[in-house]
Structure formats: C-alpha cells, structure tokens
C-alpha cells in the first residue's frame, strides 16, 4: 500500500497546479488540429463517389463516436483505479469524464442520423451504430443520475465508479447483441466508409480530427479536474494557496 499512500499525499495540490500549467499545452494543438481538420474535410477532401459532399459529416461524426467510446473507457479505468486503490483523484477524473462523454455521444447520435438521413429518407433509423450510441448515452445518463443521487461525495464516487465498471463490461455485449439483432431484420446498411481505401486528402483531415478531439478531451478534462480535486480536498492550507492561484 506504500505506493498509494505516497501517491495520494502528493497528488491533489501537485495535480491542481500541474493541470493548470498543462491546459494551454493541450488547448492550442487542439485548436490547430480541429481547424485544420475542418478545413481539410470541407474544402480539400474530394467528394465521395457515392454520397457526394454528404460524406463530409464523417469528419465530425466519426471523431464524436470515437470520443463517446474512448471517454467511457477512460472513465471506467479511472473508476476502477479509484475503487481498487481508493485514490480520490481517480474518482475526480471519472467524475470529470462523464459529462464530456455524454455530450459527444449525443453529438455522434445526431450527426449520425443527419449523415444517414439522405440515404434512409428519415432522420431516425434503427441502424446498429446509432442504436449502440443511444444505449451508450443511457449508460452515461445513468452514471450521472446515480452520481447526483448521493449527498455524500465519497459514496457518490464509489457507487458511480462501480456502475462505470459494470457499464464498461456491458459495452461490448451491447455492441454485438445490437448487430445480431439488426442482422435479423434487415440487411446491414453500409454506413462505414472503409478508411483504408480513402485517398490521403480524405484521410489526413479525418486523422487530424480524431487527434484534435482527443486532445480537446484532455483539455476539458484538465479544467474540470481542478474543480473536482478542489471540492474533494480538505486541508485548508492547500486550498488557500490553490484559490489564490
């Protein structure tokens, strides 16, 4: 247990100031990558031979879908660490992740339906990818609802952490059962553009967007983390120093 004792002692005040210093180092690259990606995706990339310019929605839909999954996994790993080694900071990370993940899951859901709408003729189609995003959104909402149901922050941390761990186990199960369910009733609608056969001018902006969104997640996480760490911290002397920072 020595490692966690040292880690817990050193981390909140150190982490607070570290997060404050690191934020700009992530914010600026995020801005550059996203602006570059959007410009590349909207202007440089050639239209798709099937979907024409409609395919450009992929530059916001795919990274959002990636965020919804990546953030949930990050949240579950932080939650597990918080439960196993009882590290308050890990719970602070998990608490910070949820709203970010939920917002991008919603974004993936709407952009996905907007992308499919021209093909389907309607805005909502029980397509396996959209159904998966919808259920993932419910799991985020469940996590945030459980977290807000407790007055005592420590119990909220530990109960929601348990739910996050259980939820992440459910994600692959949902993924495959939704595909299995969808294959029963319709031929799978091909929405995915195989990334391999995309020309460079199409692919590079997409990769920039993926990286840009990931760095955006870290940027917002660092901002939220400072607040979460502050609310969990007890020693007055350290708070005074942090508050004047």
């Amino acid at each position: 247990m020595a490692w966690t004792w040292f880690h817990r002692l050193g981390s909140p005040p150190y982490l607070y100031s570290l997060a404050a210093r690191l934020t700009p180092w992530f914010a600026w690259p995020t801005l550059v990558l996203i602006l570059g990606g959007v410009y590349g995706g909207l202007v440089l990339a050639p239209p798709d031979y099937q979907q024409g310019d409609g395919f450009r929605i992929i530059y916001v839909h795919a990274p959002s879908a990636w965020m919804s999954l990546m953030v949930y996994t990050t949240m579950a790993v932080a939650a597990a660490a918080g439960l196993i080694w009882r590290i308050k900071v890990a719970h602070a990370v998990a608490a910070s992740c949820a709203p970010i993940g939920a917002s991008f899951t919603l974004c993936a859901l709407v952009t996905g339906s907007l992308w499919g709408a021209p093909m389907w003729g309607t805005y909502w189609e029980w397509d396996p990818r959209l159904t998966f995003e919808l259920i993932l959104l419910f799991q985020y909402l469940g996590y945030m609802a459980l977290r807000s149901a407790f007055e005592d922050l420590q119990r909220a941390d530990r109960a929601s952490a348990m739910l996050a761990v259980v939820g992440v186990v459910n994600v692959p199960i949902i993924h495959y059962s939704v595909i299995w369910w969808n294959s029963l009733h319709q031929a799978p609608s091909v929405m995915k553009l195989a990334k391999s056969d995309m020309p460079a001018t199409m692919l590079i902006p997409l990769l920039m967007m993926f990286l840009g969104f990931t760095l955006f997640f870290v940027t917002v996480l660092l901002i939220r983390l400072r607040g979460e760490v502050l609310t969990r911290e007890r020693s007055a002397s350290w708070i005074r120093e942090a508050v004047t920072l």
Binding site: R86, E151, D152, L153, Q154, R234
Partner: protein
C-alpha cells in the same frame, strides 16, 4: 516481543462531508478490558465503532487486530467480532427465535435449545415466539443481547447497548460484559452513562466534537 495489543487504532482520520468526524484518533484495548466511548451526539462515537469493525474506511490511519491491519484479512477479523448497532438488527416479521436462528445461525451452527436458553438468560423467554413487530424497544434490545450470549468471539463492539433498558436490563448488560471480560474478551462500547462493569476493567475514551 511485547504482547501484541489485541485491538489498536492509529491516527484515524475520517470526514463526513465537511465535518472532520475522527481527528487523529488513537487507542488500544487489551484482553479483559472494556473501553467506554463517551461524547456528545455527533461526536463520532458510531463512526469510530464502525471504523473499528471495518465497515467504514478511514481516510488516514489504520486499525490493527492482534498486531495486523484488519484490511489484510477483513473477513477473518469479522469472524472474531460481534457488532450491535444503534438499532437491534431484527426483522419485524420474524420472532426472536427465528431472528436469532437466521442471524447467528449464519455464523455458527445453533441448536434451537441453545437459542431458547440464551433468550431465557436475557429475560426474553416469555415472548420468544411473538413477531418482533409486537415487542417494545426494551424487549427488542434484550433479544439483541441474547445474540451476545450466543457468540463466543473475542471482540464486542456495542453502540449504546443499554438504551431502552430498565435498571434490571442494565445490570444484565453489565453481567454479560463482565462474563465476557473474564473469559479474556474485550469490549468497546459507545455509552451515555457508565456500564455496571468491574471498575478495574473499565477504561474511558472521550470523543470531542469539532
């Protein structure tokens, strides 16, 4: 090697929200001793008891049983203690005998006559088959005490064991504890007024409110 103290707490820190409930608590209890926790309401008596029995996790500090951190073998530690909280842990729809059979029976095999003797011992024999719902608070407390007569664990952790008991009931609690101490057991009890326990075995620990 000096005799390992049976129950020891070192530098316990615990917060409830913003309240620093346990602020650097340290104590040690030897076999044959009864430690009385005193302090006003909300001073943390219940929190300390629940931390000592491993239900609550201190944010700092540790609890040692026979020199070993209770976290190392929490279940083994639990097998050696009995904890009775503020409310007697009884199901309202079951009778005292059924309650004890399902409560203590889960821990050790119990013959039904052993249960009857224990209930007789604490003066609960006359209502041993009535649903606990119909009993008074004092009668429920006696049924809970019967559980102590049924266990033979070294450590008792009791949260105000004499509440709702008349004079005679309080004597009964004192007698049960004295017997336990003679067998080398130890007791930590949160109380409002002194237990009728052998003075030599009695020790006090005052918890102050922040």
């Amino acid at each position: 090697m000096a005799a390992a103290t049976l129950l020891q707490a070192e530098n316990l820190h615990l917060w409830r929200g913003d309240r620093h409930v346990l602020n650097g608590i340290a104590l040690a209890v030897e076999g044959g001793e009864c430690l009385q926790l005193t302090g006003s309401n909300g001073a943390g008596k219940t929190s300390l008891l629940r931390t000592l029995c491993g239900l609550m996790y201190p944010e700092e500090g540790r609890v040692l049983w026979v020199g070993r951190n209770i976290r190392e073998d929490l279940r083994g530690f639990h097998a050696e203690l009995a904890y009775i909280g503020h409310e007697p842990p009884l199901k309202a729809d079951l009778s005292p005998r059924e309650n004890l059979r399902y409560w203590i029976g889960v821990r050790w095999p119990l013959a039904s006559d052993v249960i009857n003797d224990a209930l007789e011992r604490v003066g609960a024999g006359s209502y041993r088959d009535r649903p606990v719902r119909t009993l008074s608070a004092g009668q429920k407390r006696r049924v809970a005490l019967a559980s102590l007569a049924l266990t033979s664990v070294p450590l008792w952790l009791l949260d105000e064991p004499t509440t709702n008991l008349d004079k005679e009931g309080q004597q009964l609690v004192g007698a049960l504890i004295n017997e336990h101490l003679e067998r080398g057991g130890l007791v930590v009890a949160a109380i409002h007024h002194d237990l009728s326990v052998r003075a030599t075995a009695l020790r006090r620990f005052e918890l102050t409110r922040e």
